[in-house]
């Protein structure tokens, strides 16, 4: 049995690394010492090994719901903290610590020579610890605490190069927009508390939902609040616009927190409260938000020129897929996609970092022809892109296909809407990923950072920030090795983890079976004989939530259609950027409105920053409060002080300085006192 203290240790190791780097290493060894990297890497490696043990323990012995510890007692209400180590948590443990480990290793080279190397590694350790704490929380409040810690550390990491105004602004934007969603999350928690304080404990909540103790209307409001938090954290429409800007952080940060871990926290939240969502009336809303986000973000990726922004839009789009799947009740496919996506997307981001290392820029207009210079980066990124596009047999194919199949299986209007949105996004994804690949690695080399700087000078544009040096060669092995690891995972993990048929010792749909087992253990307290055998969930012991969460049957039509669309997207990109038979410029001219709309990101930044913040918030709300502050709050003080001053000035006249006047007043006073004593005394 995996003991509770070991589970705590998974979180505590990166915390220790954070403290060690932040205090001892920074103060006594140096602000740019390699020691910091070793400290964080060994701590995260420890967490990763323990996570594997945790996964093995859960796989063999079932979920472990450890007893809560009392943290606070307020007027008879006990706030508890504890570890909930179920299938969902154990998978998230492995994903988070695994991707984090690879990224930390890569960062040694990528961040080499940065003057704040130690600070980087302390923040990364803090981030990893927060995320690990988030996924293992047993209490909603505990989850929220780690949720906010994730927010803080992402703020610190996005704004890591805080001397760049754009990075500082991006960090602020990310923090405020996710906070906006967290506001809803907090309201959801409060409502849950008022329904019944004991429901803050997640296993208790599961039992209550399973027993039907929470009415659908109540569940809807709570889920809506929680979903707001998820929308903010996972950059779903309409709170998506912070994520592309968050690319201002170091690329390794983007790889860790804006592809594989932090942004999946929103998906995780929906998965964690899946029974509650399932009991509510808002599943269709979840589908719509996710589906719209998937298409909407993908369409912006079609025209972006910054390779990291393309990846950022694809992340939003893929998160949209996961959310959509959760809304459809496809619990296992959503988590499977989260799992596969984490690896290939981290690989793609790290690959873009490697490209930046060589060309000094992220702007694809100035790349090209890098295939010959950096074959390792090229091939790993191609594998990642094929996987993302959903091409057989890469991991993305399996998970994306399961998503689409579950939409197909669902039928009805919402299923068809989801299917169409999903297929549209799949087409766009294939196109923009291969547009990025072709622009970056094929064709003529267009000069890299130096050419970009020259162009900016020539056209009197502001100099782009973050330009590096150009040296067209493969990155060092410290950067390439993580790419190779992640690319190999992208090839094999899809069918190794969740095959369509029994693959030796690996059973058919083993991933789906594994994650849906969770509910068996949590609801009945037992495990083993009740576990579903193939993830298809015909068993009636399971609550509705699990029946809906099982893996769908492989559906050949959707697989064929999605593959055809993906190949079509790739061919379109090929004809546009390699053979030139379809001119992208001509297409942009033919559809100027569409191109502009996409290029300006649907004017969402203008809507939020100009319309909402400046014209409504500043001009109306803030101005009202400013007026109220000046003419009421301040004015009361001003008038009160004027009154005091006037009274004082009047009284001051009594003090004339004439001694005899004082004496006369005193004498009169004494006489008056004596007379009073005579008259009223006795």
């Amino acid at each position: 049995m995996f003991s509770e203290s070991l589970a705590w240790l998974i979180i505590a190791l990166p915390v220790a690394a954070f403290l060690l780097n932040g205090t001892v290493v920074r103060a006594f060894i140096g602000t740019d010492t390699r020691v910091a990297g070793w400290v964080t890497i060994s701590a995260v490696a420890g967490s990763f090994i323990l996570s594997l043990f945790a996964l093995a323990s859960v796989a063999s012995k079932g979920a472990a719901v450890h007893d809560p510890h009392n943290w606070l007692t307020v007027q008879g209400f006990d706030l508890t903290f504890g570890i909930l180590l179920d299938q969902l948590t154990s998978i998230m443990f492995v994903v988070v610590s695994g991707v984090s480990l690879v990224v930390q290793f890569y960062s040694q080279q990528y961040m080499h020579g940065d003057k704040s190397y130690t600070r980087y590694y302390s923040y990364m350790a803090l981030f990893t610890a927060s995320m690990l704490g988030l996924v293992s929380a047993r209490n909603v409040v505990q989850l929220f605490v780690f949720w906010e810690l994730v927010g803080v550390s992402s703020y610190l990491l996005i704004g890591f190069w805080m001397e760049r105004p754009s990075a500082a602004a991006a960090a602020k934007k990310a923090f405020l927009m996710t906070r906006f969603g967290d506001f809803g999350f907090l309201l959801g928690i409060l409502y849950l508390y008022f329904v019944n304080p004991s429901y803050l404990d997640i296993p208790t909540l599961y039992e209550a939902v399973g027993a039907g103790a929470i009415a659908a209307g109540v569940a809807t409001w709570i889920s809506l609040g929680l979903f707001m938090g998820a929308i903010g954290k996972s950059a779903q429409f309409p709170l998506h616009s912070w994520l592309p800007d968050a690319m201002e952080g170091p690329t390794s940060v983007s790889a860790l927190i804006h592809s594989a871990t932090m942004v999946t926290a929103g998906v995780f939240l929906v998965a964690r409260f899946f029974p509650l969502f399932h009991a509510s009336n808002m599943m269709d809303l979840v589908v719509l938000i996710g589906g719209v986000t998937a298409v909407f973000a993908a369409s912006m990726g079609l025209v972006a020129n910054d390779i990291k922004r393309v990846l950022a839009y694809s992340t939003i789009s893929q998160l949209g897929y996961m959310v959509m799947a959760l809304g459809l009740g496809a619990y296992a496919p959503a988590l499977f996609h989260l799992f596969t996506h984490a690896f290939f997307k981290a690989g793609l981001f790290l690959g873009s970092g490697s490209v930046h290392h060589a060309s000094g820029t992220f702007n694809m207009k100035y790349m090209g022809g890098l295939r010959k210079n950096m074959p390792w980066t090229y091939w790993t990124m191609v594998i990642g892109s094929l996987s993302l596009a959903g091409i057989f047999p890469f991991s993305g194919f399996w998970s994306k296909d399961e998503l689409l199949a579950s939409a197909f299986e669902r039928g009805s209007t919402i299923g068809w809407v989801a299917l169409i949105l999903g297929l549209t996004a799949a087409l766009m994804t294939a196109f923009y990923m291969f547009r990025a690949i072709f622009l970056t690695f094929h064709g003529e080399y267009k000069g890299g950072a130096e050419a970009e700087a020259e162009d900016a000078k020539k056209n009197n544009l502001p100099m782009p920030v973050g330009l590096g040096h150009t040296h067209r060669q493969e990155s060092p092995w410290v950067m390439v090795a993580p790419l190779v690891v992640l690319a190999s995972l992208a090839i094999v993990i899809g069918f190794l983890v969740n095959p369509l048929f029994d693959l030796g010792p690996i059973k058919k749909h083993s991933f789906a079976t594994f994650v849906t087992e969770r509910n068996v253990n949590v609801f009945t307290g037992g495990h083993g004989e009740e576990a579903v055998d193939d993830g298809h969930a015909e068993t009636s012991h399971l609550p509705d939530a699990v029946e809906a969460g099982a893996a769908p049957e492989f559906s050949l039509p959707t697989a064929v259609i999605s593959t055809v669309l993906a190949v079509g997207g790739i061919l379109l990109a090929y004809s546009m950027y390699i053979t030139g038979s379809v001119s992208p410029a001509a297409m942009g001219r033919r559809l100027p409105t569409v191109h502009k709309l996409l290029f300006r990101k649907y004017y969402f930044d203008e809507l939020y920053e100009d319309r909402l913040v400046i014209r409504v918030f500043y001009a109306r709300v803030v101005r009202f409060f400013a007026w109220f502050d000046v003419s009421w709050i301040d004015n009361v003080n001003v008038q009160l002080s004027k009154l005091t001053a006037n009274v004082g000035r009047g009284l001051a006249n009594v003090q004339s300085g004439q001694t005899q006047t004082y004496a006369a007043i005193m004498a009169i006073g004494v006489v008056a006192a004596l007379l009073a004593l005579l008259v009223w005394g006795n």
Binding site: A652, N653, Q655, S656, G657, Q658, T659, Q660, A663, A664, A667
Partner: protein
């Protein structure tokens, strides 16, 4: 001669002194008037002491030490007042000198530096 006669004299002297304090503008005269008020108080204190016999003596018993002390309180007070008045006069005269040196006046109404 009874207590009332002496108190009457004391009261008259006090009133004259008070009148002087309130009406004279010359600081020296003011000081002299103040002395008159002091002396009125001294007379009253001694008179009370003189015309109030010790409690023990009145009922024909033994006079204790405490009763003697109580009977002498007025006299002691008189000695104190005289000493304090002498010290005050010296101080006040010094102040008047200083006043005259700086402002070339001894008129009390010309000195109003302490007003607000």
């Amino acid at each position: 001669m009874t207590l009332e006669h002496v108190l009457l004299v004391s009261g008259i002297i006090f009133a004259i002194g008070l009148y002087g304090v309130l009406s004279r503008r010359n600081t020296i005269s003011l000081l002299m008037s103040l002395e008159l008020m002091f002396n009125a108080v001294v007379i009253a204190a001694v008179a009370f002491s003189r015309f109030t016999p010790p409690a023990g003596l009145a009922d024909g018993g033994i006079v204790t030490a405490n009763e003697v002390r109580a009977a002498l309180t007025g006299h002691v007070l008189a000695v104190f007042i005289i000493a304090v008045a002498a010290a005050e006069s010296a101080l006040a005269l010094a102040l008047i000198f200083a006043l005259y040196r700086t402002k070339e006046t001894v008129e009390i109404t010309d000195v109003a530096e302490m007003r607000r």
